[in-house]
Each structure stands twice: as structure tokens, then as C-alpha cells.
Amino acid sequence: MKSLKELEEIRNRAMSRVNMRHDRDTGTRIVVGMATCGIAAGARPVLNAFVEEVQKRGLSDVVVSQTGCIGVCRLEPMAEVYTPGNEKVTYVKLTADMVPNIINQHIVNGQPVIEQTIGYYEEHNK
């Protein structure tokens, strides 16, 4: 390696991989329901998609973790997004291919993907 710029590139590449090793009380949390209901409904690929997208984009202030049964088992796979200063947003009936859009529109640009939230789903699927 010959230059500070090359060092910076290695740093950025490596940082996204080790970034989660810090305790943090601030920033965004994405919690994916991974109880038996969630896993059976296919939450694992969704969880992995979130992790991959966050790391690929180098979003250092976002933590993706798993939780148990959120309660509304028929709507799994579910994910709850907590962004600082906002109310929690609950996404339902997720698939892995919906994740990049959620990250882009909600996490990066601050606009929840309304059509995929629990409120919208319940309204439109009575």
C-alpha cells in the first residue's frame, strides 16, 4: 500500500464489517421479528437483506438486530424501525426484495414506505 487514499479505502471497506461492535444508545434501530412464526414466514432472508443493504451502503449509525415474537403473527415477516425523534414504524408482510427500497426511502431519505406499514395493510386488507 502506498498512499493515504488506499488506506482510507481499506478503512471504509473494513469499517462496515466491524461497525456493529459498539454499544450505542443513539441512531437508528431496525428490529426484525425472528421468533418461530417469523422464521417460518421467511424472516431470515429479510434480516439478511437488511444487514447486507446497511453494510453495503456504509450506514454507520444503523443497527439491525433480531427480536422474538412481535405479536401479530399472521403479518410476519415484520420489522420495526426506530429512528431518533420519530415514532416507531412497523412494516409487515416483508420480502427480501422490498428491503433495498425501505432502506433507501425511509432510512436514508426519511420517508417511511407507507404502503408496507401495518396501518396501511390493515386498512386495505379488511
Binding site: S3, L7, I10, R11, A14, M15, V18, D25, E52, Q55
Partner: protein, 598 residues
Amino acid sequence: MNFYRSHVLVCGGTGCTSSGSAQIIEEFNKQIQAAGLEKEVQVVRTGCFGLCELGPVVIVYPEGSFYSRVKVEDVAEITTEHLLKGRIVRRLLYSESVVDENTIKSLDNVDFYKKQERVALRNCGVIDPENIEEYIAFDGYKALGTVLTEKTPQEVIDTIKASGLRGRGGAGFPTGLKWQFASGYQDDQKYVLCNADEGDPGAFMDRSILEGDPHVVIEAMAIAGYAIGATQGYIYVRAEYPIAVHRLEVAIGQAREYGMLGKNIFGSGFDFDLEIRLGAGAFVCGEETALMRSVEGKRGEPTPRPPFPAEKGLFAKPSVLNNVETYANVPRIILNGPEWFSAMGTEKSKGTKVFALGGKINNTGLVEVPMGTTLREIIYEIGGGIPNGKKFKAAQTGGPSGGCIPAEHLDTPIDYDNLMAIGSMMGSGGLIVMDEDNCMVDIARFFLDFIVDESCGKCTPCRVGTKKMMEILDRIVAGKGEEGDIERLEELGNEIKATALCGLGQTAPNPVLSTIHYFRDEYEAHIKEKRCPAGHCRSLLSYKIDPEKCKGCSLCARNCPADAISGTVGKPYSIDTTKCIKCGACESACKFSAISKS
């Protein structure tokens, strides 16, 4: 490239390894594979987290769950419950971090870590020390790159001077000044050395840094080389640290591979390379000049100073020798600026200090606190106090070169000058806590014994003087102390301090002198009354059978290896103190607590 959703950090320091963390890592790999999670969960072996009392330690991110005293048998449960199903295994959590059913405190807020400021230990327990890219991820080698491309050597020296960094090996000499001196002497070859000998009994600060973050030392030595004009460095590690040696070897290899060591680093024209030299078990080789003689292939014996190593050091060339912990602070000072460092600590002692907490304390392990933190905070808040409800008696800092600090000085803010003022010294960071059951005379004897063993023998004050002091102390704890012994110890001690050739001899009398200063009454009890107030020194103990409690069962007499107990069954027995060898077998055997010692 694989994107792991969870990292399982397992401590791979010497402490946890000896408690089986290597087997735990193996078991995790096995269980994770069996659960099909190997693409999602990464197991990382890191360095020391500091809470050694609770090892083996496993931390799972992103949740930050701190699992303590983990056994190999627990791994299956952690894998299926936590990694697979997201349910934290509460029974294994560090109890201090559990607030209630639903809340777990972040590690930064538990008593052990709350008052700590991890600067030198920054990466320990966070990164895999055998992966240079993880070091780079946390700003590794950025300081070196900045220094080589944007600063002159003098600017680097000025930065270190401005920070107020003082040597962490014990003497506390201003690091920037040392580098300035070496930079001022011209020669065809200069050297940078790292003192990783860490000979103080009970000290393991340097070991943890070398095992957990070896690259920080490599980077700092390269920076030092640039600052003083040296192209070659040596790390002198004690051979009793095999894990540290291995991690260093791997790290040096990777640093060379990535171009951080070798020729024309960062294209700046600066060359620097490092080699490891192993110690061979001599405490005296931690002394600056003796260390250099050892690297040169000679017997490790100190040589008089002046000339100081900055002028004529290794192979008679200008050299800088610094301690591992001193180096561990350097890259951060370059990156964050000297004002950041000098904002921590006291007026004359800037920054933080790593302490190895041991002895009679609940949270044994490694702590790093800003200078100025009081002893009381370290022992009672961070250390969790004295176990079994015993009373604090004294804390020993500085190992065999240091002194004891009694309860009256517990509120002293710790820094180089304050500790010297109360008769001790900072030393390398070993902090041994003693309670009411420790005998201060015996503690002094223990450290002196170590010194007598380790004296190189070159100068008479140390070679003969410490032995003479030892003979007096041996007599005292054996119950043969004489009037005048304390004065003899004081006289000898002061003479040795004034006349010994090197730091080992000059500081050898400190434990004796400081215990006499603060605990003279214990010495007098040993000598005049032939009594050990703490009930520790065997030869001064006498065992007695309480006739009110004794049932005459004869169990004690049957257990006595010296046939010192006699009596008739049914009536109280008695001990013949002239035959008694004070082994304590009778006390352990008695079912009626009728035997006591005093």
C-alpha cells in the same frame, strides 16, 4: 463478500484462554455450522476486555450482550436461543448489566466500566488482533500515514511534548523530551525500542495490549522512528508471554505485507522495520540499560548513566526506549491532537493509566482510568470492593519497586507526583489490594524475596544489601526478631536507595520502608510480642483448644501429624505448643469449632 448480521466476540487473552476460551471458540464454530448460521454469524477472537474476574467473556453484537463465566457446555444454548431465535440467555449475562426483566444496561454504564476511559486499551476486546484490516477499520495506521506525508519529525516531537505524555513503564519521564534528546544526536544508525518485559509480579497491562492490539505498538514505533531518525526497531518481549509473541509475529508480518513496515512507507522515502527479541526470565532486563545489553547479546546488567541511551544506547547508538502502554497512546494523540490528551488527567500527569487490579478485590482485571481518579473510586466503585465483607488495609502500587498506601490516603487522586509524595510510586500499573487478613511484614518480605532472586549482582548495595535486609525480615516473621531490627532495616534501606547502580536496587527497599512507615505497629508486634496481628505468619501462631467447647472426641489428636495433642476421651484435650508445627490440621478437623489460633 459476506455480510455477517452478528458478531460473537470471544476473549482470547491469556487469562480467558487459560479458562478455556479456545475450546469455546471451537464449540461456537461447530454449533454455528450445525445451525446453518456460518454465513450470518461471525466468531471473532479478540483481546482482553478487562473484566478478567468474569472470564471467559463472550460479547454478542449488535445486541451488546455481555456473557460472563461462559462454559463450553453453554455454547449450544447461546447458539440456539440467542443467535438463532434472538432470545438473550439471561442467566449467563453479567449480572450488573441486568436492570430488570426488560432492561439491560449498556456496558458503558455498569459500575466496572462507567468511570473508565479506554484510550490505550481502546481496541482490546473489540478487534481481532490477527487481522490488520480490523485495526485499519478503527483508524489504524492513519496516524502514521498523516505523520509521514504531512508532518516534519520536529512537528511530531512537538505534538508529543504538548500532550504531556509521560512514560508508563513506571518512572514517568516526559516522552516528548526523550524523543527530543535522541533526535538531537547525530549518528549513522539510531534505534527505537519497546520494553515489553513487564516483570512486575501481578502486572499484565502490557500483555493485554500486545495480545489484543499489537498493531498500535508497531504504528507508534514507526512514528517514533520517523521522529528521531531511526530506521530499525526492536520489541523486547518476555518469553513467558507466548500468546503475545505470536500475535506480534503475525502483526509484523501483516504490517510488512501491507507496506506499513519496510522501505518507502506511504511513498514518503522513510524506511522502518521491526524485529522481536525474547527475554529469558530476568526481571532486571526490564531496566533500560540492562535490556539494551541483553539485545546486544550480553548478560543483562545495568550500565551507569550518563551517557543516557538517547546519546549512546543500543550498540552505543542514539536510542529511544519506551514502554508498551506509552506507545499505545501515541497514534491517538496524533489523530485527536495533543489538547485532547492533555484535557484528561491532572496538571502534571496527563491522560489515562491502565491498572491491573489484583489481590483481595471483587472485580479483578484490567482497568483504565483518567489520572486523578482516586484510589477509593478504583477499589470500591470500579473494583467492586473487598470480598467477604473484609476491611481494606492497604493497596500496593508499583510492584516490588513501590509502596503501600493505607486507608488514610484512599482519597488521594492518583498521579505520578501524588503517589511519590505518599511514599509509593505509580510503577507500571500493578495494583494489589490487601485486607485485614494480610500481614504487612510478610508482604514486604514477599517483594524483597523477589528482588533478592532477581538482583543481577553487579553492585554491592543491591547484591549484599537486599540479602541482609531479607535475613532480618526472615528472622522477624519466624519469631526471632530483635530490638533494633526496625532501625537496621531503615538504615540499610536508605543506604541502598542512595547507592545502588540501577532502578531495581534503588527502589528495592520501598516496600519495606513504606510498610514500616505506615504499619510500624505490626513490625513491633512481631518483634516485641512475637505476635502477628493479622494472624498470618505461621511461626507466630499458637493453636489453642477451648476447654468449654471441647467434647473430648480425640479427632484432632488423631489428625495431628506431630503428635502434639493429648488428653483422655470425654475430657478436653490440650495442645503442646512446643511440639506443634502450626499446620492447622486440628482446626480443620474439629467439628465443634473448639480450636482457634492467635
